[in-house]
């Protein structure tokens, strides 16, 4: 075992204890839900990658572990991959918009609890908060998509055109 890992271990342990602590303290309300009690934005799949209570309490641990596994060992399993969380959880709302994490009062899945619990994450300063398919525009043939871009703003379809500049298309 590398001695360099010792501080990291301690840090993780502290973080864990800390997160368990604040979870137990119940100082956050859970993700946004609609009247029927379903999570919004609606995840793309049926089930989460872990049982709901497990993922709720431990998702930071999974993510931080996965992070090191991927970075240092090249392990790219999907179960705890941040990219996959986003792919499934960051879906368009009924207006076809994908909420952004750094919006005020954000409806992005990963921001809903965090903002309520004042948990500050830096992950999305680097990691995109939008799913991969938002980048490939699978619903539109290429030339159509191109003309979408060139068309006057008013006539654009609101939801499918996402520019990769990161400005979510509020006005489009």
């Amino acid at each position: 075992m590398n001695i360099r890992r010792l501080p990291r271990l301690l840090l993780t342990a502290t973080l864990l204890l800390w997160s368990i602590g604040s979870y137990a303290a119940g100082n956050y309300s859970g993700p946004d839900r609609d009247e029927n009690g379903n999570i919004v934005p609606t995840p793309k799949g049926e089930k989460c990658v872990e049982p709901t209570d497990v993922i709720r309490a431990n998702h930071m641990k999974f993510l931080l572990h996965q992070r090191d596994q991927t970075m240092h060992k090249g392990i790219r399993t999907k179960q705890h991959s941040l990219k996959e969380c986003i792919n499934c959880h960051a879906t368009p709302d009924e207006n076809g918009k994908i909420a952004r994490v750094f919006d005020e009062d954000s409806k992005h899945f990963c921001a809903s609890c965090h903002q309520a619990a004042s948990v500050k994450l830096d992950c999305f300063e680097c990691h995109t908060d939008r799913p991969e398919d938002a980048f490939s525009l699978q619903k539109l043939p290429a030339d159509h998509a191109m003309s979408e871009r060139l068309a006057p703003a008013a006539s654009r379809k609101p939801h499918v055109v996402l520019n990769s500049q990161g400005q979510q298309d509020e006005q489009k």
Binding site: I3, R4, P7, R8, L10, L11, D122
Partner: protein, 401 residues
């Protein structure tokens, strides 16, 4: 010598409050610069991917180097048991802590991710000289802190000698470490030199002492205490020796380089063709930073003229900043040779002298660090009885030391 009365400084004179206001102003400026840089990113500063460490590092490294040198007076008193310097030792220790704190804060706030301080503390790569420096800096605070305690509290006074010696050794290692930050860089022509480490040690002696002299003289003047010529003369002679030694090292450094054909281009850049860098070197570092102070210190002058000492100290400080600017910025603006015999050009300053123009943000941040250091010293003098009420010639009695 025996019955010196150490007292704190008056904490509510207009002069004291005025000083605080000035520090506060620069602190705010520095803080504003930090917030702006942190919010906008470093593109608003003068740094680029070519000139990676800019003006903040000049300030930071100057303060850190000077911190170690400021401890000199205390070291001479404790480690070498020279009783003449003993009344001066406490200020020396506090000044050392203050300067180090000021330097580190600049270094920290110029990081790309200052919010990750916790990472810097919990993850260590023990092969990195930079990581070692983090340990050395923390240790410096601790050891000098203990040393100061042994000087302030008579109950633990018996450990003073040990603590003083430990602090002395530690700070030699510390400056060696700081110098090695550059000495270990094989990539760049100007840096890959073992001589940088001892050179930094000797530079620290002279910058630290210059700052010490200024602080000491200002304090005694502004608090109306008596400061005898004996103290001034000793310290200024010491300063002269250190300045001369620094000059010697600079000469050896450049002469060695001139001997090695590979480094001719770099030397020509620093010594002849570098424009601002060249001027900084000859005028800043050599003429005004070394020769003129030497003249001021050693040439006969009207007795009791303190002005010459003040000017000499200020020049040493400015010359030191210039020297570090030449080492840091000059070393980075000079291009690296990718393939010998070929001239390179690209979209990224290959083969050309890069330019660097410091931004106001960097200057503000650097001055903020200086303000932090001075604030700590000033408050230190108010909180602890650091200085004797009088250091007149009668009191210090130089002939008995």
């Amino acid at each position: 010598m025996k019955n010196l009365r150490y007292t704190t400084i008056e904490g509510n004179s207009p002069r004291f409050l005025g000083l605080l206001a000035i520090y506060g102003f620069f602190l705010l400026l520095g803080f504003y610069a930090f917030v702006t840089m942190e919010h906008e990113g470093h593109w608003i500063t003068g740094m680029t991917n070519q000139v990676i460490w800019g003006l903040p590092h000049v300030f930071a490294i100057f303060l850190i180097v000077a911190a170690s040198g400021a401890l000199n007076v205390a070291s001479i008193a404790s480690a070498f048991n020279k009783s003449f310097y003993k009344p001066l030792a406490k200020l020396s220790a506090v000044l050392a802590i203050a300067l180090l704190a000021g330097g580190l804060i600049v270094l920290l706030l110029d990081l790309g991710r200052p919010d990750r301080l916790i990472v810097a503390i919990t993850y260590y790569n023990f092969k990195s000289i930079f990581a070692w420096n983090i340990i050395l800096y923390s240790g410096f605070f601790a050891i000098v802190g203990v040393y100061l305690w042994t000087m302030l509290d008579w109950q633990v006074e018996k450990y003073k000698r040990i603590a003083g010696t430990a602090a002395f050794i530690w700070r030699l290692i510390l400056t060696t470490g700081t110098g090695s930050i550059f000495g270990f860089l094989v990539a760049r022509q100007g840096y890959d030199e073992a001589i940088l480490a001892p050179m930094f040690v000797i530079m620290s002696f002279s910058y630290g002492l210059a700052i010490y002299l200024l602080v000491l003289m200002a304090t005694y003047k502004w608090t109306g205490r008596e400061l005898g010529d004996a103290v001034i003369n000793r310290l200024q002679n010491l300063l002269g020796v250190f300045v001369a030694a620094t000059l010697y090292f600079a000469a050896v450094y450049h002469l060695t380089n001139l001997y090695i054909t590979e480094h001719h281009g770099f030397e020509a850049y620093i010594l002849r063709d570098g424009g601002l860098i060249t001027n900084m070197f000859w005028y800043g570092q050599i003429v005004f930073g070394s020769l003129l102070p030497l003249a001021l210190v050693y040439c006969p002058r009207p007795a009791k003229s303190r002005l010459a000492v003040v000017v000499a100290s200020i020049l040493v400080i400015l010359g030191g900043m210039a020297a570090l600017y030449v080492i840091l910025i000059g070393g980075q603006t000079y291009p690296m040779t990718l393939v010998p015999g070929y001239e390179a050009s690209s979209s990224f300053s290959d083969g050309v002298i890069a330019s660097y123009s410091p931004s106001k943000w960097e200057l503000m941040l650097g001055l903020g660090g200086v303000a932090v250091a001075l604030l700590i010293v000033t408050f230190g003098m108010k909180l602890f009885s650091l200085l004797p009420e009088s250091l007149s010639d009668k009191v210090t009695n130089p002939h008995k030391s």
